[in-house]
């Protein structure tokens, strides 16, 4: 047996001194993030704060300039199967000639390994996941016939069949109907209750307190992180969003305000 050398094994996600730059311009500057297992965490911040870049760096899609990342104590390359990713819906071509159940089966490709074709087992797993998100009736539909909310459910089903410990979702609530948003949140909370760690790039400040129990506020640097009650404060939000935030509740000098960032309102 090879002796395992794990760094910070008790954290679902551990990021230390991470800097990411495009063309010499820092998008993330010297950030440290620690997220314990079994929480549902939101990553919020203004446009250009580096939220998507953070997730893409963790997944190895973007190369960091400096710093290191551990998932359950393993470097990302050794943790490929522990991590699932739900990209923004616009990241793929929905006119691609394929069916709903095919897209969900893609979540099993990593476990299948190179050259092996997906078979009955993968199809069964995909159908189970489609039932869980209420989409089994759409299994054989062409994907360009789906609404935005249905696309999001399919993506979620695909992430579920990956059997990952940590799920990253990039703005899963963007542009979906209210019913889908509720269904997605309920499913994610169920996964969290099973012990999985859910990390969501989120854009709607008004729902942060209702949906999540952990929060990372980002604006190139980490503004604040921790359990929602400690971190979701007017002071922290103002620090991150600056003048672009309109606090609906300006009298209460900061504790848990209803905040609407202006860029979302526009």
């Amino acid at each position: 047996m090879k002796r395992e050398k794990r760094h910070e094994p008790d954290l679902a996600l551990h990021i230390e001194d991470l800097t990411v730059a495009y063309e010499g311009k820092p998008v993330l500057w010297d950030i440290d993030v620690n997220i314990p297992p079994g929480v549902m965490a939101a990553v919020i911040g203004p446009n250009g704060a580096g939220k998507s870049t953070l997730i893409k760096t963790v997944l190895g899609l973007v190369k960091p300039t400096a710093g290191h990342i551990c998932i359950h104590g393993y470097p990302p390359r050794q943790a490929l199967k522990r991590v699932a990713y739900v990209p923004q819906r616009s990241a793929v071509d929905w006119d691609f000639p394929t069916t709903v159940v095919d897209v969900v089966m893609m979540g099993r490709y990593g476990h299948l390994g190179w050259f092996r074709w997906p078979g009955k087992r993968e199809r069964r797993r995909a159908m189970d996941a489609l039932s869980a998100v209420g989409m089994e009736a759409f299994a054989n539909r062409q994907i360009n016939q789906l609404s935005g909310g249905q696309q999001q459910r399919v993506f979620l089903a695909r992430a579920m069949v990956q059997d990952a410990d940590v799920l990253f979702l990039d703005e899963p609530m963007a542009g979906v109907d209210a019913t889908t948003e509720k269904a997605v949140v309920a499913l994610l909370q169920e996964l969290r209750d099973q012990g999985k760690t859910i990390i969501v790039v989120h854009h709607d400040l008004q729902t942060v307190r209702d949906y999540f129990d952990w929060l990372v506020i980002l604006n190139v640097r980490v503004v604040a992180q921790g359990p929602i009650p400690e971190v979701y404060t007017g002071e922290n939000l103002r620090k991150a969003y600056g003048g672009r935030i309109a606090l609906l509740d300006p009298d209460s000098s900061g504790e848990t305000p209803d905040a609407v960032p202006r860029e979302v309102v526009n």
Partner: protein
């Protein structure tokens, strides 16, 4: 009997055409879906540079060395394009347009300066001459087999093997590059393999159909199939069928009209595309019109 078949000009012309169509459509399907069709244009032009350089160094006009050299040129084209695009001073489509004419021009210049005796001239570079493929033979297993048939068969088998072995990897890389990367299924490697094989196939097909007509066989049949089906596997199959049907229809038409055989075969791919565009049940103009009527009449 076998030798009679291999010595029959018409059979060899049709076989060569069908092999070019098959090998082209197998790769073209993924290029079209990845929105990289025009890279096949760039590759099929810049390999002229590779062909001339290999000829100058080794005097090999065909065979493995020629194919390897030109394939490297194809991959070099893509690599240079990505490099120019990555500077972000030039957009990616413009980068393609900067790189391949430079290599193509260099190839033509070298051809004019040092290689006047080589079998290719500016006419065959563009159109090839599929009508003469049966003349240029090589011995194989006791038979005299046209070189074009031998090398196109190899290219077709390699492409088929690649698509069958890496079907799911190619599919995922085409549909969701980020997930492919996150799962460790190397979409960038798949991309370069795909383009490397496109170069190899372009070289093998070069004598038969030339640089420009090759593009027609890579892009048009998959674009036609895309209009006809919602399944990737069916799209591959239909693309191959459309390509092969184009060669089979194109030959008699060319003989009848006394025009370029390769050109007529390529034109037929365009005819099939037009038919699919008009008549496809779901995505065609007619289907669209009918669906709307059904929708609004009820």
């Amino acid at each position: 009997m076998m030798q009679a078949f291999l010595g029959d000009p018409m059979a060899m012309i049709l076989l060569t055409g069908a092999l070019v169509a098959t090998s082209g459509a197998l790769l073209g399907t993924f290029l079209v879906l990845q929105r990289q069709s025009m890279l096949s244009d760039a590759i099929s032009h810049s390999i002229v540079f590779g062909i001339v350089v290999v000829w100058l160094l080794t005097h090999a006009q065909s065979g493995p060395l020629q194919i390897a050299g030109a394939a490297l040129t194809g991959v070099l084209t893509v690599f240079l394009t990505e490099m120019v695009a990555r500077t972000r001073r030039v957009k990616r489509d413009a980068a393609i347009g900067l790189v391949f004419p430079a290599l193509f021009a260099a190839g033509v210049l070298l051809l004019n300066l040092y290689a006047r005796d080589i079998h290719i001239d500016s006419h065959t570079v563009l159109l090839g001459e599929i009508g003469f493929v049966w003349l240029d033979t090589m011995p194989l297993a006791g038979f005299e087999v046209p070189q074009a048939v031998v090398w196109m068969s190899v290219a077709t088998l390699v492409n088929l093997g690649f698509v069958l072995a890496c079907y799911k990897e190619l599919k995922l890389a085409s549909f969701d590059w980020q997930l492919a990367a996150a799962l460790g299924l190397a979409p960038t490697l798949m991309f370069y393999l795909l383009l490397g094989l496109t170069s190899v196939t372009a070289v093998a097909a070069f004598d038969a159909v030339g640089a420009v007509l090759f593009i027609a066989f890579v892009i048009v049949p998959p674009a036609t199939a895309y209009l006809l089906t919602d399944r990737l596997s069916l799209m591959l199959l239909l693309a191959v069928l459309v390509g092969v049907a184009s060669t089979l229809c194109g030959y008699p038409l060319a003989v009848r009209l006394d025009v370029s055989i390769g050109g007529t075969m390529a034109s037929m791919t365009g005819v099939f595309l037009l038919l699919a565009f008009l008549l496809s049940p779901r995505y065609g103009v007619l289907g669209h019109w009918r669906n709307r009527r059904v929708k609004y009449s009820g």
